[in-house]
């Protein structure tokens, strides 16, 4: 038996927490999001009130302060994850960068669902030449590996936080268009759509009231997994030096900076990389769990 995730949030949560893997993922994601909201708000308020130090009130060290006396210190009681070449505390920098990765992944995935969902529903519902055109555009985007397309877009629209976000959205919506088109096609053939049409409901209302609620669950299950993919890709952009403008720390950029300290000072590159892995893994575990619930692979 399968359950509708959105209609039964409490039951869904219970099932997810019963499985150790998805429970682990859920805990890490919650920590990541809650921390990102707190730290992100502090940073925004700090910037607006011209007290940037508010951004590191909760952190063990100022993540931006250069201290060459403490350069490349190994992990210790004082610096749990060590320091980088500039003597900046790595733990503080990882925590300081969390809201960036969180906001990028959330904005990207939800924008992609909005754009791709609408186009996919229209393509699937109306069919004909509309479907052909949307389908070809989707194919054109999906024929190129995401990262390559991102590099092409970056060179056109430039690098930085907002530019990367726009480029990621452009690359990310087609998969949701394809996903929601397939769902819509399946839903369209059911009787309740026919009866809605017979009762005189317009296309727009049918799409919103009947198609959308029925197609969104599988899309959300995929999206959960996808937050991790966006974080991985954004970190790769950061690694290539085009995700965000320095000196703001970003996880991928930290790994790339640490690369120059290899092999001696391995912690400068490895710890930020591990954090990316753990967060991406958590999203994958919860996404897998949701998928299992949706297709009814779980007994409860």
């Amino acid at each position: 038996m399968s359950i509708a995730v959105l209609e039964n949030p409490r039951l869904t949560l219970k099932v997810l927490l019963r499985n150790p893997a998805s429970a682990f993922g859920l805990i890490i994601i919650t920590l990541f999001i809650v921390w990102s909201i707190i730290e992100g708000s502090l940073q925004v308020v700090g910037t607006l009130t011209r007290h940037p130090s508010l951004g590191w009130v909760l952190l063990p060290y100022n993540p931006l302060a250069v201290n060459l006396m403490a350069s490349n210190e190994p992990p210790s009681i004082h610096h749990l994850l060590g320091t980088n070449a500039e003597g900046q505390d790595i733990l503080s920098r990882i925590l300081y960068a969390a809201p960036i990765d969180a906001s990028v992944s959330i904005v990207t995935v939800f924008s992609a669902i909005a754009i791709g969902g609408v186009l996919g529903m229209i393509a699937g519902y109306y069919g004909g030449w509309i479907d052909e055109v949307i389908g070809r555009v989707t194919d054109a985007f999906l024929s190129i590996p995401g990262l390559i397309l991102l590099l092409a877009l970056t060179i056109l629209i430039g690098s930085g936080y907002f530019q990367s976000m726009i480029a990621l959205i452009i690359v990310w919506w087609p998969i949701y268009a394809r996903l929601s088109r397939a769902q819509t096609l399946e839903i369209k053939s059911r009787y309740f759509i026919d009866s809605a049409r017979l009762s005189g409901l317009g296309d727009f209302l049918i799409l919103i009231k009947h198609v959308f609620p029925n197609m969104i669950d599988p899309v959300l299950a995929y999206a959960t997994l996808d937050f991790g993919n966006v974080i991985l890709t954004y970190a790769t952009l950061g690694f290539l030096g085009i995700g965000i403008k320095p000196p703001t720390p970003e996880w991928g950029e930290m790994v790339s900076a640490g690369l120059e300290e290899l092999p001696g000072y391995w912690w400068t590159a490895i710890f930020p990389g591990l954090v990316i892995t753990i967060v991406a893994l958590s999203f994958a575990l919860v996404g897998d769990g949701l998928q299992d619930i949706l297709v009814g692979r779980i007994n409860y």
Binding site: R136, V137, D139, A140, F141, S143, I144, P145, G146, L147, I148, L149, L151, A152, L153, T154, I155, L156, I157, G228, L232, A235, T236, F239, L240, G241, I242, G252, V255, S256, L259, L262, P263, W266, A269, I270, G273, L274, I276, T277, I278, A280, L281, A284, L285, D288
Partner: protein
């Protein structure tokens, strides 16, 4: 015409239409960002060009012509492989790509093959022993490697195997003390083998192992997961039950009967693994200083070398469309029950 020929022709027409849409998208983006002929010219020759050079480019490329003329020109350019002049080497983009692409292809193909081997075996074992400790271990391993950023995998391998153990070289394509063989096929590894230049061949192979393994570690999870799922499906079929009841040993049932049938869908996913690896190569070539197309792309990115990046994007797009077509045809050859439509 036979049905296969009709199918191929239809797929190729579809591919061309998709490619036209891709060109339209890139064209629109370029023109949105560079609305004037001067801004356009800067895209093609670089931001530091002199006004005279910009004038010359506007003339040569017809950048002051009406939009539809420019669009048609652009389509003709892409279809004839004219992607402009690389702003770093001042050579045609296609010539530059021809130099670097074979290195990347030999890396990506090796990586995909390693990924296929690891993926097929781990997936088959996990599927045949569903819900056992072996199954869970394999699933955890592929979920973790899957969630790792490609650069972390590469750095870990480089640290452990190249720096710590000193087993393999950490960076480079080949030991620079060897002179490269004369190009026969344009594929360096193949050329070295054809000319019996074994020291060069071995050195290149040794430099290939770490980056190729990194690529494989990133993408094998895709294959493992699909293989596991189809294997579970196949293990429930009647002919497997018959094989077990005939008294065949477990090993023979799994590897001879089940695995062969579960292999069919792998053909399609192999293209996806290949595509993932091309993207992964950009980062991994950067870390291993492996001078292929991926490494060159990062250089082009820092130098705002538009023609090369756009040219490479088109070439990757076209090759993946072709690879998908080949995969679908192979699929029909391997499994005659599948009809091409």
């Amino acid at each position: 015409m036979s049905s296969v020929a009709v199918y191929i022709v239809r797929r190729i027409i579809n591919m061309i239409i998709t490619l036209l849409f891709l060109i339209a998208i890139v064209f629109t983006l370029i023109h949105l960002l560079a609305p004037s002929p001067y801004a356009l010219a800067r895209i093609w020759v670089g931001a530091r060009a002199t006004p005279q050079a910009l004038q010359a480019v506007i003339k040569a490329y017809g950048l002051d012509k009406p939009l539809y003329v420019q669009f048609i020109n652009y389509i003709v350019d892409v279809f004839t492989g004219n992607f402009g002049i690389d702003t770093m080497f001042k050579k045609p983009v296609l010539a530059v790509i021809k130099v670097y692409l074979p290195y990347t292809l030999q890396l990506v193909l090796t990586g995909t093959i390693i990924a296929l081997i690891i993926g097929v075996f781990t997936g088959a074992i996990a599927g045949a022993k569903k819900d056992t400790a072996t199954d869970y271990t394999i699933r955890i391993i592929y979920l973790v490697t899957w969630s790792m950023p490609p650069f972390l995998v590469a750095i870990l391998l480089q640290l452990l195997i190249a720096y710590d153990l000193g087993l393999l070289p950490a960076t480079g394509v080949v030991n620079p003390i060897y002179t490269p063989p004369k190009p026969i096929t344009g594929w360096p590894l193949l050329d070295a083998a054809l000319e019996h230049d074994w020291p060069y061949f071995t050195s290149m192979l040794r430099h290939l192992i770490l980056p190729a393994t990194s690529l494989a570690l990133v993408s094998f999870g895709l294959i493992t997961r699909l293989m596991r799922n189809t294997m579970i499906d196949v293990m429930n079929r009647d002919y497997i039950r018959t094989a077990v009841m005939k008294g065949l040993p477990n090993r023979s049932v799994i590897y001879k009967h089940a695995m062969r049938n579960a292999l069919i869908p792998i053909i399609t996913i192999a293209v996806l693994a290949f595509a993932t690896s091309i993207a992964g190569a950009v980062v991994i070539e950067d870390i291993f200083q492996y001078h292929g197309m991926g490494w060159f792309t990062t250089q082009a990115l820092f130098n705002l070398d538009y023609p090369t990046i756009l040219g490479f994007t088109f070439i990757v797009g076209i090759s993946i469309m072709v690879a998908n077509l080949v995969a679908d045809l192979l699929y029909a050859v391997v499994d005659p029950r599948i009809r091409l439509e």
